[in-house]
Symmetry: C2
Subunit: 198 residues, 2 copies
Amino acid sequence: MDYGNLAIMARAGLTTERVIRAGAEMADEIGFEQVTPTELAKRCGVKTASLYSHVKNAHELKTGIALLALAELADLAATAVAGLAGKDALVALANVHRDYALDHPGRFTAARFRLTPEQAVTSAGVRHAEMTRAILRGYELAEPHQTHAVRLLGSVFSGFVGLESAGGFSHSTPGSQESWTEILDALDVLLRAWPRTK
Amino acid sequence: MDYGNLAIMARAGLTTERVIRAGAEMADEIGFEQVTPTELAKRCGVKTASLYSHVKNAHELKTGIALLALAELADLAATAVAGLAGKDALVALANVHRDYALDHPGRFTAARFRLTPEQAVTSAGVRHAEMTRAILRGYELAEPHQTHAVRLLGSVFSGFVGLESAGGFSHSTPGSQESWTEILDALDVLLRAWPRTK
DNA sequence: GTTTCGTACCTAACAGAATTAGGCAAGTCC
DNA sequence: GGACTTGCCTAATTCTGTTAGGTACGAAAC
């Protein structure tokens, strides 16, 4: 065995948590799809095989990043909407999603990583639904309309931000920021005039 | 060389088009991410290396499937909305997206594959935007509101269908179909009462 | 009918990624 | 100081993506 480099061979001191956190940063820099055990090991200053002490395999690594992103996003959302109601809360929640996607593109796509049903119910995904439901209190929507509205908002946030970060709006005018503010205005109007025909 | 199997070694007769079409079917069966030259070659009854006569590499294969899906979807949308206006057109266009995603999950995620700007403008993606714009004629929205509305509709279609096929709505009541119809009702209301404050 | 030619397909080889097995050694608890 | 845990390593295996170069099928040219 080669002990020539003992002095610089200090342990990296990795844990599962740190590995996943490093993976999340890597996703933001080079893209979620490009996150690979080999590349992540290089970043952690460790041989590839050593990662497998902390993470079972590549798929579990990605799952871990997805769960981390969902939790982070839920935390940000919770503090953003605290103390707000009505349109202010709506705008705050919406912007949390958009800003997160712009600041952390890799984590954002990770958050859309397909989870198993068991993982999904354990994840922070449920907190997102609860939070969306919370901001709808100001609009006085009874069930089942409230659930439908929750799903609409989730769809718009996820859809708009997904299209925007995929470059879908970048080659036409006006800029996406204008559309975003007007769409939020429109959603506010819609939630107050929600059709309750049934 | 081994000529023992000459009788069953007839040429597969592949072309770029057929390879991509086979890839699209494969995506629907096993998922877009799992579409790989190795696996596709098996399906085509050909050695892996032989695919590279028709497709430059794995990434170009995926791009080809994405462009195919976008074109198919645009064709379906065009015939679905032909002769319709107002809410009928809105519902028809929306359902084309949802039905396509349910029938062809692999192709649907392929349609969201990230393209280069050059590919994007050449793709059928522009036809989608034009079609959405067309169904908005019935709502008499002037620019720039029309563009904002186009983007909202795109976001809702893409977002809802994406969440639904990822299982996002499958563990709560009511069923996603109910939300879908109510959301379309709501969008119709919204488009007629679109805020034009500026 | 033979020659010519393009190309669909092959074999062979390699690089890189994921994964497993087994071993050393660094820090910890007595 | 000895024993135990575990973080990290080396080594080997397998699988996928990709390139290079060759062979034969099918059609068109002569």
